[in-house]
């Protein structure tokens, strides 16, 4: 009924045009016809039917080797991050994913038949992963990165299915997304796919090694590294021409992984592999913010695949071994020159003028140098030499401010912290003074233009 009126009203208006407007009338009718046909075509394309419910299956019928293969891929994909709410059972959903359009809650992917995906067949699961459509035919929002999972092979998707179907079923209802109009209409996700979903496998690069190709496959599919490390356009599609130029995630910058990487020492395959397994690397830094839970996944992945990811990700910067060696030597030399003694361990005092509450030198000496002085040791790990930290060398102050505000916590769900949070300890002016001091002393890069504004944006939940 409503759609009939939608079509009839403009037609009547066209009919009321005078005969002198005949040409205009034809054009309008033609445009209307195109809109109707294209709209109909879009609906036909976007419409997906319900797939039949899978009968209950005894978990012992899944091959343990296939389940183990799935476990490895789920670890590389860090699926648990978005599909597990804080202090809640794994994979039962509820994690709030903040997007520029509103909040989307990760869904329950345990095999519960009422609230999870227990009634999904392997075909329904494959369709969801490749096309972003649930078993009933609803479009799923691209916060679920099916634009990456679409590149996965059938056998890998079936392995992930086997892994999920052998988890504990948890009854926990999914929470509806809280999105602004028009994104609250699920069909908007179909329009997004028309623009940004490029289904099918990526062809291998025969000029590269098997290990590199394995890493490329994992990074582009399950790993979905580009979901954060590639910038997105206004409609939240990844900008394919700017792959790995650095992106944005949950209030943090995801640094560039290509030649634009802020790393003082270029990443090598060994460094990436170590970082993905341990959550830190001595010549780069600790995983913090949204990257910390990713490590919780990758640390469980098998060694060969982590090594393949390392080979692929390190190759993105395009640097030769000679270039890496030269940059590394220069960076280590600069870092050694800028390292500071611990406060109170030598006759050296800070030289800070008394009464200057916003003096970055004194703040650093009293709050930071205890750990970040030369040769410092923490019970957990050796603190990162700040001159080598990607965060300190980034083009934007955002991540350094976030680290100071929130601290760095272990990559796994252990209690305790690697670096304590200083929000509320330092005032905003003091944080800005500290950030300026750290940048000026520990980086060869130019000073950040306006860290006070960046801090205000973080406090207001705005992008940079």
């Amino acid at each position: 009924m409503a759609s009939g009126r939608v079509l009839r009203e403009p037609l009547r208006w066209v009919g009321q045009l005078s005969s002198g407007d005949r040409v205009l009338r034809r054009i309008l009718i033609a445009v209307l016809a195109i809109v109707v046909v294209a709209g109909g075509g879009f609906f036909a394309w976007a419409w997906h039917g319900e797939l039949p419910a899978e009968p209950s299956r005894d978990v012992s019928t899944f091959d343990p080797a296939v389940v183990a293969k799935g476990a490895n891929l789920v670890a590389i994909g860090s699926c648990a991050v978005c599909h597990t709410a804080k202090n809640s059972p794994s994979f039962a959903g509820g994690y709030p994913v903040e997007t520029p359009f509103g909040v989307i809650y990760g869904s329950n992917i345990t095999p519960d038949r009422d609230t999870g995906i227990g009634t999904w067949s392997p075909a329904a699961f494959r369709r969801a992963m490749r096309e972003g459509v649930d078993r009933l035919g609803n479009h799923l929002y691209p916060a679920f990165p099916y634009d990456h999972f679409t590149h996965a092979t059938d056998s890998d998707l079936d392995a992930v299915y086997a892994f999920l179907m052998t988890r504990n079923a948890v009854q926990k209802a999914n929470r509806e997304p809280a999105l602004a109009f028009p994104f609250n209409i699920r069909l908007s996700a179909a329009a997004w796919k028309l623009l940004f979903l490029h289904p099918g496998p990526n062809p291998p690069d025969p000029s590269k090694s098997a290990e590199w190709n394995r890493g490329a496959y994992l990074a582009e599919s399950f790993g979905h590294c580009g979901a954060c490390h590639t910038p997105r356009n206004l409609l939240a599609g990844e900008q394919r021409g700017k792959a790995y130029d650095g992106g944005f995630a949950e209030g943090w910058l995801a640094p560039a992984l290509n030649a634009k990487s802020p790393a003082a020492v270029p990443w090598t395959a060994e460094a990436v592999t170590h970082y993905l397994r341990e959550g830190w690397d001595a010549e780069h830094g600790h995983a913090a913010g949204p990257m910390a839970p990713v490590i919780d996944g990758t640390s469980r992945a098998n060694s060969d695949d982590l090594r393949a990811l390392g080979v692929y990700v390190a190759s993105l910067n395009g640097a030769t071994a000679a270039e890496i060696a030269a940059k590394r030597e220069a960076a280590l030399k600069f870092a050694a020159a800028r390292t500071l003694p611990a406060h109170g361990t030598t006759a050296q005092t800070t030289g800070a003028a008394p009464g200057l509450a916003n003096d970055g030198t004194a703040i650093f000496a009293g709050a930071c140098a205890t750990c970040h002085h030369a040769g410092g040791e923490l019970p957990i790990s050796r603190p990162i030499d700040l001159s080598l930290s990607s965060t300190v060398n980034e083009a934007d102050a955002r991540d350094l401010i976030q680290v100071i505000l929130r601290g760095i916590h272990p990559a796994t769900n252990e209690r305790g912290r690697i670096m304590p949070a200083f929000d509320g300890v330092l005032t905003d002016r003091q944080i800005v003074a500290l950030v300026n001091y750290v940048r000026g002393h520990f980086s060869t890069q130019p000073m950040w233009s306006d860290p006070a504004k960046t801090l205000a944006n973080i406090r207001n939940g705005k992008g940079s």
């Binding site: 800070a352 004194a362 750990c371 019970p379 304590p420």
Partner: protein
């Protein structure tokens, strides 16, 4: 010179501006409740309050505290007239060696000032920052819960 306001009293110190607050509290002002544990912001034995925020005094230079109110365990009560949290810790016998307790009490004080009836989950989450190596965590949790209840029933809301 740096002027500190500790438990309502001004204290002028000529220590280096980068000196951590804990050293000035213990060595100059002789407020010895806060303890040196790890010196790295990992254990919480040195916890005191700045305004309403619990901080690690071992990692807070005095320069940043000019004009801001610092509160230590000594500001909550005395042995003769303990504050509600201190009394609850005594009633629950929550200390074994006691080294972590001043930090525990100060962190708990910050919680009860924001939330007068915290759930057990909220208490656990909030207190997870502070470590006890003796194993009295269950008693510490009970003491905080008791203090919250008694402060409400006696209408002894924590006064900043």
């Amino acid at each position: 010179m740096t002027t500190l306001i500790v438990n309502g009293k001004e204290h002028v110190t000529d220590a280096d501006p980068a000196t951590p607050l804990l050293y000035v509290l213990r060595n100059e002002i002789k407020l010895n409740a806060g303890k040196f544990g790890c010196g790295l912001g990992q254990c919480g034995a040195c916890t005191v309050l700045v305004e309403h925020t619990p901080i690690f005094s071992c990692l807070t230079p005095i320069s940043v505290l000019e004009g801001r109110r610092v509160r230590t365990l000594e500001g909550l009560g005395t042995a003769e007239h303990p504050g509600p949290l201190q009394a609850a810790f005594v009633k629950e016998q929550a200390a074994q060696c006691g080294y972590c307790i001043p930090g525990m009490v100060m962190r708990a004080q910050a919680l009860l000032e924001q939330n007068s009836s915290p759930s057990e989950a909220q208490i656990r989450e909030h207190m997870s920052t502070n470590l006890c190596r003796c194993g009295t965590q269950m008693r510490i949790l009970r003491a905080i819960d008791r203090a919250a209840r008694e402060m409400k029933s006696a209408d002894l809301g924590a006064k900043p």
